[in-house]
């Protein structure tokens, strides 16, 4: 079984317990306007172009007409790009690379097993993230199952916006589920992410794996106490909940969007002021569930 991965990141400490490796699967059914990982939205392999490194040497122009130099600007016709990678192969400077790579389950597992000793020593393991692992369910399930069979702790970062049948298959192989819930209001949810939240809520209610529920705090979308309180209350009703976590917005995705030519995603959102974040945190804490913020336990 093959799949597409944007990267496998080793030595992560933010995606579950201990020292972990994270597989970022490419492709997502949501299109959140604040996305931290815009490179993982589209399923297809894309061209990653770092203008600063480009020498305008023309080597890529000679292999593909989608590259054009106009007014000293290197343009790429991304709409027609097939991600074949011939241009990147010619590029001397590393300005052109491919974003996304085909992996078999075995290749992915082999890469992950490199850090086996660290997982054992730290109580860590592997985490599937994305994009949305649920978009490549068989591939994702294959990695989880093989790792688990080797005694490695598995975690799944997911938005759960898919049918129950997929949830069952994936979650059965995950020792820990870290699910995102961004809004309780279905209309707002659809506005911000391009998807409704009915399936998500349904999946969450039926989940039987240890769960960390997370909400990214997004200016103008859910940075009001009402939104956060409602999610926290819902979280409180979930039996397998370990804790609820708030994540502050980070404009990390903007720099990546530039390299991918995703113009609408290049400008960072305004920052939420510190007092506001505290207020939101307090409103979640008031619900009386274990609470984390940015990876750290929140204590009043």
């Amino acid at each position: 079984m093959d799949g597409i991965i944007t990267e496998i990141q080793h030595a992560s400490i933010h995606d579950g317990p201990g020292i972990r490796s994270v597989v970022f699967l490419k492709g997502c059914q949501m299109h959140c306007f604040w996305c931290h990982n815009p490179e993982a939205i589209r399923k297809e392999i894309q061209i990653w172009f770092q203008e600063k490194k480009c020498l305008h040497c023309g080597a890529c122009f000679s292999v593909c007409s989608l590259h054009q130099l106009s007014e000293r600007e290197h343009r790429i016709d991304r709409e027609r790009c097939t991600g074949c990678g011939r241009c990147a192969d010619r590029c001397f400077s590393g300005a052109l690379t491919l974003c996304g790579k085909n992996f078999s389950v075995e290749m992915a597992v082999e890469d992950l097993m490199q850090d086996e000793l660290f997982y054992q020593a730290s109580g860590g393991g592997i985490t599937l993230s994305g994009g949305e692992p649920g978009m490549q369910p068989e591939f994702a399930e294959g990695i989880l199952r093989q790792c688990r069979a080797r005694g490695i702790h598995t975690a799944l970062e997911t938005n759960l916006a898919y049918p129950e049948s997929i949830r069952k298959v994936l979650c059965a192989e995950a020792d820990l589920v870290m699910a995102d819930l961004k809004q309780m209001d279905p209309g707002k949810h659809r506005e911000g992410t391009g998807c409704g939240n009915r399936q998500i809520l349904e999946n969450l209610r039926r989940l039987d794996r240890p769960l960390i529920l997370r909400t990214p705090l997004i200016p103008g979308f859910n940075d009001d106490t009402e939104s956060i309180r409602r999610i926290a209350e819902f979280a409180a009703s979930l039996k397998p909940l370990l804790y609820y976590e708030l994540l502050t917005y980070h404009p990390l995705g903007c720099g990546k969007a530039v390299h991918l030519g995703m113009k609408s995603r290049c400008a960072p959102l305004p920052e939420i002021p510190e007092e506001k974040i505290s207020e939101l945190t307090e409103s979640a804490a008031a619900v009386g569930i274990p609470l984390y913020r940015n990876g750290k336990e929140w204590r009043i």
Binding site: E7, Q9, H10, A11, I13, H14, P17, G18, I19, K53, L55, C57, F92, S93, G94, Q114, D115, L117, F118, A121, S122, G123, G124, N294, G295, K296, E297
Partner: protein, 716 residues
């Protein structure tokens, strides 16, 4: 261990630390840069050098030989300004370094047959750091001095002198030792008279007698350290917890002191001088020797928060609590201490040289990268090095000129030249050991070694038991990446020809297309990534280096050579003499650091990858290839960071790692300090084995440290 809190001495310690900061700033203003350890010295009164003169100098203003060193040292001691501070439990500070006060010193001018011109050609060709004429860099056994005191040492020397009066070399040496001892005792006596109360009483006693209490033992060690620093910088330290334990336990049992007193005394010792001290680890039988005082030493450093070189010895039967407390303090203080040594691999490695497990367990990490058995082993650690980049350059140029270009030719050329370089190093070591005592005898370290006084032979001239000479390789990552770049781009992918590669490298990538070729080469696999041809090259080159020494790692005269990988602050210097390299490095840029990969070795910069990479480059004979880790908030923000770091260190040691130095720096602070160092007088960075005040580094060196830390912190 039950947790420790200081309540009584906080005022004294705060004032001592504040004064220390002032002294650092003062040194920076007066002396400017010093790319090295803080050492703990203070500046002498301004006019001191206008009226002090060494009694024995030659026409060049320098001095050599046993007698001159002794007479000059004694004169300096007898004139040495006294220093006492009412807040300090210990008296004294040192102010001079004699080995740097030899105006016009040149080995070639020494009045003995110091002609090693037969080695010059290869020394220059390979830019060898040969160590001839270098001093110290081995370790004393403090227990000898603590048991005897200065009076007892004097008696011991006298007795030996009587016995060996007819042995000319011995008589000269022992006579010199008497001068040294008289000088030190004079300094102690005068300092005692300037002090008051308990400090005065203790020092009047210690002028002659052996210490009996913890405070006395700390003061005695401080005196030896200060005297030895003054003589030739030394700085080795020792297994501090075991050295102090008997005094501590006796004082506690007698109800003389409590833990707060103990921590205060130890803090004053650490403040006096940042020697390399070890805590924990196995005793001779392999049992863990962690005790209450091991923890108190850590707490003393934690209290001070100044430049400090403590090492926790990690091994199989380790007391978990000490390891954990060390990591907690490392994370909390972010001052680069403690560091951690991997004693399993170090012991195993040393035993491969034919030593017993008991002997190997006594060998500890006593300097930047170095290992030595206190008082028994002469090593010249950290001052003998082969710049592997230079050797590579010679081989590369030779291949280019021959026109016979292939990876095999290049590799066999590298090995051939490496063997020549290693032979030259080996001959140089023999030369050093034959002549050094006539140049600069180890008059201070001799006193605390087993043998020199008994035999009447300098430690550098047969006085001690073991002669295991260290030699370190430098720049291995640059060479591995260079081989990998050629293999990838010239041989396998054929993106450029041999000629294009050679022309670009030899023009420092400034020819037509040079920059393109440089970028192409630089985009090749790199050592540190894991599983690439560059990682394979690194291991191959490490083995080449280990095997390059003649006669199964022995000098022509039969002294063992123990290889390691380390470049210390030399990374800048080593880079300067080497032209561009095929990994895309420009001419003159620094060498890679120790066994660490080149910066940007991997896109995600995974700290697990670097931990494994450096573990794979252990030479395996008991000397180190340290892992230098730069960690930032992204690896440290989160829950259970202590456990994660412990896991990281454990895996490194499990894979054969030998020594871990960690920097935890807030990138913003470092950037700001780079712009305005004066605003950050107390910013401390771990340069390699040692920690240093950032402000005391030269601008160039600051830049180098920042580059390394800021580049590597993004990996974490």
């Amino acid at each position: 261990m039950k947790s420790f809190r200081m309540t009584r001495y906080t005022g004294q310690i705060a004032r001592l630390v504040a004064k220390k900061k002032e002294q650092v700033l003062e040194k920076q203003r007066k002396l400017g840069k010093a790319d090295e350890d803080d050492y703990g010295y203070v500046l002498p009164p301004e006019d001191f050098m206008t009226h002090f003169h060494f009694p024995e100098v030659d026409e060049n203003g320098s001095f050599h030989g046993v007698r001159a060193w002794a007479k000059n040292f004694r004169a300096l001691m007898e004139a040495h300004p006294v220093y006492v501070d009412a807040d300090d439990a210990l008296a004294g500070r040192w102010m001079f370094m004699m080995s740097r006060m030899r105006a016009g010193y040149q080995l070639a001018l020494a009045p003995f047959p110091a002609d090693y011109s037969f080695l010059h050609r290869d020394q220059e060709r390979y830019d060898l750091t040969h160590g001839i004429g270098k001093d110290a860099h081995f370790a004393p056994d403090y227990r000898i001095g603590l048991a005897l005191g200065w009076g007892g040492l004097t008696d011991k020397v006298r007795k030996s002198l009587k016995r060996l009066a007819k042995d000319e070399e011995a008589a000269e040496l022992l006579q010199a030792e008497l001068d040294v001892l008289a000088g030190i005792r004079n300094w102690i006596h005068r300092t005692a008279l300037a002090a008051e109360g308990e400090v005065r009483r203790i020092n009047l006693k210690l002028e002659t007698e052996a210490p009996e209490t913890l405070q006395e033992a700390c003061q005695w060690i401080a005196w030896f350290n200060m005297a030895s620093r003054t003589y030739n910088r030394d700085g080795a330290g020792g297994q501090l917890d075991e050295i102090l334990r008997p005094y501590y336990e006796r004082d506690i049992a007698a109800g003389r002191i409590d833990d707060e007193d103990a921590v205060y005394f130890i803090a004053c010792l650490l403040l006096n001088d940042p020697h390399y001290y070890q805590i924990g680890g196995p005793d001779r039988e392999g049992n863990d020797q962690t005790s209450r005082i091991s923890y108190l030493i850590l707490e003393a450093a934690h209290l001070l928060k100044i430049s400090c070189n403590l090492t926790i010895r990690v091994h199989d039967r380790m007391e978990e609590g000490l390891f954990r407390r060390g990591v907690e303090i490392l994370l909390e203080d972010r001052l680069g201490y403690p560091r951690f040594s991997g004693d399993n691999a170090l012991i195993r490695g040393y035993m491969r040289n034919g030593y017993s497990a008991e002997q190997a367990r006594e060998r500890i990490a006593l300097g930047c990268n170095w290992m030595s058995i206190p008082g028994r082993e002469y090593t010249l650690n950290d001052v003998v090095k082969i710049n592997l980049m230079k050797v590579f350059e010679v081989a590369f140029n030779e291949m280019a000129e021959s026109g016979q270009c292939s990876l095999e030719t290049l590799h066999s050329g590298f090995r051939k030249h490496l063997a020549k370089a290693a032979l030259c190093i080996a001959k140089g070591l023999d030369f050093h050991l034959a002549h050094q005592y006539e140049n600069e005898p180890e008059l201070l370290l001799n006193l605390l070694c087993h043998g020199p006084i008994e035999k009447g032979r300098d430690a550098s001239h047969g006085g001690v038991e073991f002669y295991n000479m260290a030699c370190d390789g430098a720049g291995i990552a640059v060479v591995a990446d260079s081989f990998a770049a050629i293999q990838t781009q010239v041989v396998e992918r054929r993106r450029i020809s041999w000629k294009e590669c050679i022309d670009a490298v030899r023009s420092d990538f400034r020819n037509a297309n040079g920059e393109r070729i440089r970028l192409l080469l630089a985009s090749s696999p790199r050592y540190g990534h894991g599983g690439t041809c560059a990682d394979e090259w690194a291991v191959t080159l490490m083995r080449d280096f280990v095997e390059s020494f003649p006669n199964r790692h022995h000098t022509p005269e039969g002294r063992l050579i123990i290889p390691g990988l380390f470049s210390w602050a030399d990374s800048l210097r080593f880079g300067k003499t080497v032209g561009a390299t095929p990994n895309g490095r420009h001419a003159g840029e620094p060498s890679s650091h120790g066994a660490n990969p080149c910066p940007n070795f991997r896109r995600d910069g995974a700290v697990t990858a670097i931990v494994k990479a450096v573990a794979s480059l252990q030479c395996g004979y008991g000397n180190t290839s340290p892992l230098q880790l730069e960690l930032n908030d992204s690896f440290l923000n989160g829950e259970n960071t202590v456990d994660r770091l412990m896991a990281l260190f454990r895996v490194h040691f499990q894979l054969g790692g030998t020594l871990i130095n960690v920097n935890i720096v807030h990138a913003e602070t470092l950037r700001a300090a780079q712009k305005n160092p004066e605003l950050y007088p107390d910013l401390i960075v771990r340069v390699t084995g040692f920690t240093a005040y950032f402000i005391m580094l030269s601008p160039e060196f600051r830049e180098f440290v920042c580059q390394r830390i800021l580049k590597e912190e993004q990996y974490a």
